[in-house]
């Protein structure tokens, strides 16, 4: 079975490569990069969710002042530089006391590497859970609740330091099981509507779903300000929202299923730039 599967994968990969190779060379370089990363499916060239927003929403995201996500960046900057709790110098250190001043963008590029493998726990660790890890271990404070403004603010602040950087996630052997689980989730039908992610975000991209235009469902702008939420929200909140949309029971925040899916989505977004905080409908 294994050999047959490998043969099948090799055939598909070959055909994908041939198809891509026969395309105009300058037309789309990105899907080839994706197709060689271990997945045999012919993926479309990644397009940011930005592309599927109305001109007004795009303008709101592009406006460095009016983008409402910047309110959370401001709060994140405050949290970054202040001690986690009063108690004397260094007792409950601020983020800045370990990582450095924000102006130097000390964590630039870090968001591109999350979710990453937490070898001790044998599961993926998202950026938000890493920040909460710092909070409990280094700052000796109770972890922030998922979707709390403080956690969103710091997550957005860290992700924003990678703003404009190109996602280029490579999947090594240690990540492969989680990647495969994420991919499986993506193509797994679920919920009363019996829909998988790809039914909307691969097969019907660009078409209308009631008032919304279906995007490729990539997370390069998250945490993002969604007009519907009227606030900043994490990618996991968006994924839960998708689950509920197909009438499936969502997983709790921080579930490994979402971390795996985040990794898979990040790989699919190879070639896109980080837009945090994006504005989405």
């Amino acid at each position: 079975m294994n050999a047959g599967r490998k043969l099948w994968s090799a055939l598909v990969l070959l055909s994908v490569t041939v198809v891509l190779w026969s395309c105009d060379a300058g037309h789309d370089a990105t899907p080839m990069a994706n197709a060689t990363a271990g997945n045999a499916r012919p993926l479309p060239a990644p397009r940011s969710g930005y592309h599927y927003q109305s001109a007004d929403t795009q303008a709101l995201q592009d406006d460095a002042f009016a983008n409402p996500g910047t309110l959370w960046l401001d709060q994140g900057a405050t949290l970054w530089s202040q001690d986690a709790a009063p108690g004397g110098p260094g007792r409950y250190p601020s983020c800045a006391s370990c990582h450095g001043e924000l102006a130097t963008q000390p964590l630039r590029g870090v968001a591109l590497r999350y979710p990453r493998l937490d070898a001790a726990a044998d599961q993926l660790q998202t950026l938000a859970s890493r920040i909460n890890g710092c909070r409990t271990d280094q700052q000796q404070q109770a972890p922030w609740a998922f979707e709390s403004d403080a956690l969103l603010a710091l997550t957005a602040l860290v992700a924003n330091q990678s703003h404009g950087m190109t996602l280029a996630r490579t999947i090594d052997a240690s990540l492969q099981p989680f990647f495969d689980a994420g991919e499986h989730y993506y193509y797994q039908r679920r919920g009363q509507m019996n829909l998988a992610c790809h039914h909307c975000h691969e097969n019907n991209v660009g078409r209308m779903l009631r008032g919304d235009r279906l995007s490729q469902g990539l997370g390069n702008g998250y945490p993002a300000y969604r007009l519907q939420w009227q606030k900043l929200g994490s990618l996991q909140r968006r994924l839960r929202f998708c689950n509920v949309g197909v009438r499936a029971e969502p997983h709790p925040f921080g579930a490994p299923e979402y971390a795996n899916l985040e990794l898979y989505l990040q790989w699919r977004a190879t070639g896109l730039t980080v837009e945090t905080p994006a504005v989405r409908r």
Binding site: T70, Q75, S148, D149
Partner: protein, 128 residues
Amino acid sequence: MVWQCQHHRYPRRLYGLSLLAMLKTRISIPATAPAGAAIEIKTLISHPMESGFRRDARGEAIARNILTRFECHYNDRLVFGCDLQPGMAANPFIRFSARIDVSGTFRFRWVDQHGAETIETRDLSVTP
């Protein structure tokens, strides 16, 4: 697929801005301007602007919580003011322009429905 009405698990805006006890504001204004020139002023404030028409996961009404008034004074003279209503989106963004002849201080004031004020000031110097 129903996207907007049925996800009772995530009522829009219910999270509020609990940790932002003091409202965060952003104000965009030039530090200097030529006399007589019209300058553009942009303001943004974090506020849930809860309309009072929504219900929570248990079907109970969510109390209205809105800003009701925004004013901008320049050297104690009203430059711009407006009433805010429940239909406004969260985090109100207000943009207006003003023509400035002398140096002075802008005073921005937001008032919520309980009368609590958020006040910010910005100095502007006029170049000849």
